[in-house]
């Protein structure tokens, strides 16, 4: 058998397993009708009170608690109805070997009348529910996210397997020499990537585009042999998966550089520990070895940064983090309490108040040294 045939066979097997698991959900409901039980599906409760630390994989995953989507309530009944329509659609899609985006799925439901999704976050959540129940990933359902435009830039050569109209081809790309200033755009299925070679010592993941551009303009990547990953806010799954793969395969340390506010700490948490919304994928996407560079509340004091006042929402978010098990470490408790005391927050780009080179010449080297990276 040729390689292509083998690939095809593996794909077919995976698809048939996916169909089987999806149809099992429908069978569960069907059997409940037959045995006169009020139809319901059990799904792990997706809140911060139900995430647990997995010692083995060192990431946060869902705990034991389950909630029922039951026909006893209107919401539950609609949720089951929408599940059944969604599964019917996915099943057909798998049979026809086609795929769709999350957004397309939302629009497809237009024709489902009662089972129509009210907004895209609702259909996105439905796909996540199905991932959790089937213990598969949305890629297995042939559902992909919209491209979110996150990029990498740095001394690494990547091989991408491109499949179009049934033709498979390979492209090798160097993420400095072969790309423009914008960098290499991370595709949605990063498991199709191979790492060919690299000269990097570490990976730095950055929240905002402005700071990413600053590092590139200042030549930080070549000066420090760094791969610069732009997170673009709360990072997409593919970005987190890529960070994890580079960390594991290339044994490169990962550091995360964000703004100094509660929302940015959550960005770091989802990279390092796993997010609450997709804790079922934590083992696949979280990078427990990732370290937080800053901006730390103590940096606001130590580097005398320009600040903004914390809003009421910021304060609530910080307080909520104090009860979030992922932040239950001495480091985070001290920093969050300090910030609540200061009542202030700072952005990454606040370092510009010391000159455009300060962040690359002073701050980052100092922090990277103290973290033992350089």
């Amino acid at each position: 058998m040729s390689v292509e045939e083998e690939l095809l066979k593996a794909k077919k097997e995976k698809d048939s397993l996916t169909k089987q698991r999806l149809l099992q959900i429908i069978k569960t409901i069907y059997d409940q009708f037959a045995t006169e039980q009020i139809p319901q599906l059990l799904i792990p409760t997706r809140t911060k009170s139900n995430i647990a630390f997995n010692e083995e994989s060192e990431v946060w995953v869902y705990g034991e608690r389950e909630s029922a989507r039951s026909c006893k309530t209107v919401r539950g009944a609609y949720s089951l109805l929408k599940s059944s329509y969604t599964i019917e659609f996915l099943n057909k899609q798998l049979e026809e070997n086609r795929s769709s985006t999350l957004r397309e799925l939302y629009y497809i439901s237009e024709g489902w009348k009662l089972a129509k999704f009210r907004e895209q976050p609702e259909s996105d959540r439905m796909i996540e529910d199905l991932e959790i129940i089937t213990e598969l990933q949305r890629e297995n359902f042939h559902v992909r996210p919209e491209e979110n435009g996150a990029t990498i830039f740095g001394p690494i050569r990547i091989k991408e397997n491109v499949e179009r109209r049934g033709q498979v081809s390979e492209r090798v790309i160097h993420c400095i020499d072969d790309v423009g200033e914008g960098g290499y755009q991370i595709p949605y299925n990063v498991d199709n990537l191979d790492f060919v070679e690299h000269d990097a010592k570490f990976i730095i993941a950055i929240e905002t585009g402005g700071m990413r551009d600053r590092l590139i303009e200042n030549g930080f990547d070549t000066d420090y042999d760094a791969i610069i990953v732009h997170l673009k806010g709360q990072p997409a799954r593919s970005t987190r998966r890529l960070l994890k793969r580079m960390n594991e395969r290339l044994k490169l340390p990962v550091v995360v550089f964000t703004d100094g506010d509660p929302w940015s700490y959550r960005i770091f948490a989802s990279v390092a520990y796993g997010s609450i919304k997709s804790a079922h994928m934590s083992e696949y996407m979280a990078t427990p070895a990732a370290q937080f560079i800053g901006v730390r509340p103590s940096d606001i004091v130590n580097y005398d940064l320009p600040t903004d006042k914390l809003s009421d929402q910021d304060v609530r978010a910080l307080q909520s983090e104090l009860t979030d098990p992922r932040f239950c470490t001495d480091f985070w408790k001290d920093e969050i309490n300090l910030q609540l005391e200061l009542k202030k927050k700072s952005e990454q780009q606040a370092f510009a108040s010391r000159g455009l080179d300060y962040v690359t010449d002073v701050y980052l080297p100092e922090r990277l040294t103290s973290l033992g990276i350089i």
């Binding site: 026909c71 089951l80 059944s84 019917e88 009662l114």
Partner: protein, 621 residues
């Protein structure tokens, strides 16, 4: 030396002009801001207009116009269809402070002191420098008089600038036009619009037409043609009298004997009670009242308190009534529920009073704001000083969470789509200040308001509880009628299997008794099974009917059979515990249809899934 000082002081002592008095006291008269001054002016004029119309038995038809004259000045016009004012009185009614007909009367009325409208005239001339114009006509065949006047601030006497007879198409009525400094606002309760709306609610017999500076005209139409019962004047009740008033009454009475004074000048004192009072006070009952010393008067007052005197008559009060408060709220608010109450009359310090309350809920009222509190005293809306008013305090005392409303922090004004209305009617409403915006915290009044508001709140609570049950039932109906059938259809379509019977699940969700009939073909007979399962939480007893065209065979258990019109009614008595299941079986010849659906008797149709309840008529046979 002392004389010197007295002389020096005498040089400084002089009469204070009423203009100065006004300047110093404008806040207590309701003229402390430019917004409020405009509202107060309208309010004083409209109060007078309503009082005048009601006294003369005319359904009030009142026009309020506000025109912008220049940057700071507005022209306020209030016109009524009341009895008019006789020519000689016009200048003094409008041009002299503290001139009025109601100050001495113990009677429920809107205005009392006679400060109101003349204060408006004074404020107008002080701020705009312009005189007030008055039109008045007392009857169809009478002439309409027109005056332009100001108040002489030195003498407190009217000064007439122009006086003439003018043509006026109204059969009778009064019109006042004043120009004054002011600010016109609209988008809140404390506004002329808010005042007009509130006034329209508690005066459902009045038509108010408001023309705003923008030219927009809003008509608050009347919803009843019946005038409120005219309140009557009463004599003072001894319980509330003060020493000074008593001494004054003693001095100026025309009665020659004390007992006759007591029985004729006070309410609720008969001859026997008068004697008893005199004895208690140790005063000769036959003495001339004007000869009583201050000390004797004081003893008399003491005696009033110890002798049992029946409460004052309450006939003199004119409540709005439950029905008209409802109509008033209905016409000005779009709501789902209204409760109203009029309490029995009560007494505070010798003054009779009645408290009424109303509550309106839902509809287009804002859901997340603080409840709107509409306070009224003698049918006049109280717009300012909400925090200092007995009505507010009574509402705040109530634990609204007991009445299914939100109350952040567990105290204070509740939150939600609610309007609460309170009305205190009395011959003497005790206000906290002259501007009459807040009722004083007299314990008897606060208690009565609280009881009235609790009364309507109970009505709201019952309504909300019923709504909750209905909502739950509706929710369940949505599940069983819309979602479940679709779900069953979709899962069987995907599975490629037969569609499951959803009735058992419906019965389970509703907590009903399930009656499920199935038929099995076997050779030339059909085996019929009627399955009964009780998904409710209580034991159920009822009769199960199965009508058949022929006699059924081998039934277990055996039914009672009655035949009619050539048909057979097979009846089983069923007694079934919660979660228990029973079966009825029988066979019929295949050529015969298995019969219609079974029927139940002696149980509510809503409690059964899968069988209809027998119509009442048949059941009684």
């Amino acid at each position: 030396m002392a004389e010197n000082i007295a002389e020096k002081l005498a040089q400084k002592q002089r009469e204070i002009s009423i203009a100065e008095f006004f300047e110093k006291n404008r806040h207590i008269l309701g003229f402390d801001s430019s917004t409020r001054s405009l509202i107060t002016s309208v309010k004083e004029a409209v109060d007078n207009a309503l009082d005048a119309c009601e006294e003369s038995g005319v359904l009030p038809d009142i026009l309020i116009e506000i025109h912008k004259v220049d940057k700071d000045n507005y022209r306020v016009i209030v016109e009524d269809n009341g009895p008019g004012i006789v020519k000689e009185q016009i200048p003094r009614v409008f041009g002299k402070l503290l001139y009025g007909s109601r100050f001495h009367a113990l009677k429920q009325s809107r205005g009392q002191q006679g400060i109101g409208i003349s204060a408006v005239v004074l404020y107008a001339q002080l701020t705009s420098g312009r005189p007030t114009a008055v039109y008045s006509k007392t009857g169809k065949n009478k002439e309409a008089h027109y005056y332009e006047l100001v108040i002489n601030t030195k003498t407190n006497e009217p000064e007439i600038l122009m006086e003439k007879i003018v043509p006026w198409d109204r059969p009778h009525g009064t019109r006042i036009e004043v120009e004054m400094e002011g600010t016109y606002v609209r988008a809140r309760k404390q506004s002329i619009y808010g005042y007009a709306k509130s006034t329209a609610i508690v005066n459902p017999h009045a038509r108010l037409t408001l023309v705003e500076p923008t030219g927009d005209t809003q008509v608050f139409e009347r919803v009843t043609e019946v005038l409120p019962v005219e309140p009557c004047e009463i004599l003072p009740h001894p319980e509330g009298i003060e020493l000074g008033t008593l001494i004054k009454m003693l001095r100026y009475t025309e009665r020659r004997r004390l007992t006759s004074f007591l029985t004729n000048e006070f309410a609720r004192i008969g001859h026997k009670t008068a004697k008893e009072i005199c004895a208690k006070a140790g005063v000769d009952p036959d003495v001339n009242p004007s000869d009583l010393s201050r000390d004797q008067a004081k003893r008399l007052l003491e005696a009033f308190k110890t002798v049992k005197i029946i409460a004052p008559s309450t006939e003199c009060l004119s409540p709005i009534t439950e029905e008209l408060i409802r109509k008033g709220l209905e016409k000005e608010y779009d709501v789902d529920f209204i409760a109203t109450t009029t309490r029995d009359a009560s007494v505070h310090t010798g003054n009779p009073f009645i408290v009424e309350a109303g509550i309106a809920y839902g509809g287009s009222l804002p859901k997340e704001e603080k409840t709107d509190l509409l306070r009224f005293a003698n049918r006049v809306p109280l717009l300012y000083q909400q925090g200092g008013c007995a009505s507010t305090h009574a509402v705040e005392k109530i634990n609204w969470r007991n009445y299914e409303l939100l109350q952040p922090g567990g105290s204070g004004i509740p939150q939600g789509p609610v309007v609460i209305l309170t009305h205190v009617a009395s011959t003497n409403v005790p206000f906290t200040s002259e501007s009459k915006e807040a009722i004083a915290d007299i314990p008897e009044i606060v208690d009565e308001i609280e009881l009235a508001v609790r009364d309507v709140a109970r009505g709201l609570k019952n309504y909300l509880a019923k709504q909750k049950v209905l909502a739950k039932r509706k929710e369940k109906e949505e599940i069983i009628e819309r979602v479940l059938p679709k779900l069953a259809e979709k899962v069987s379509e995907v599975m490629g299997g037969p569609q499951p019977d959803i009735q058992p699940i419906v019965a389970k969700i509703m907590g009903n008794v399930l009656v499920q009939k199935t038929t099995e073909q076997s050779d030339n007979t059909s085996i019929v099974t009627i399955r009964i399962k009780n998904f409710s939480e209580s034991q159920k007893e009822f009769k199960l009917h199965q009508v058949s065209a022929a006699e059924i065979e081998d039934p277990t258990p055996k039914p009672r059979v009655s035949s009619f019109d050539g048909q057979f009614d097979n009846i089983w008595k069923v007694s079934i515990k919660p979660n228990a299941e029973k079966k009825v079986r029988y066979t019929v010849k295949s050529e015969q249809s298995p019969g219609a659906n079974p029927l139940v008797e002696g149980i509510l149709a809503e409690m059964v899934t899968g069988a209809d309840a027998l119509p009442k008529k048949r059941a009684s046979e």
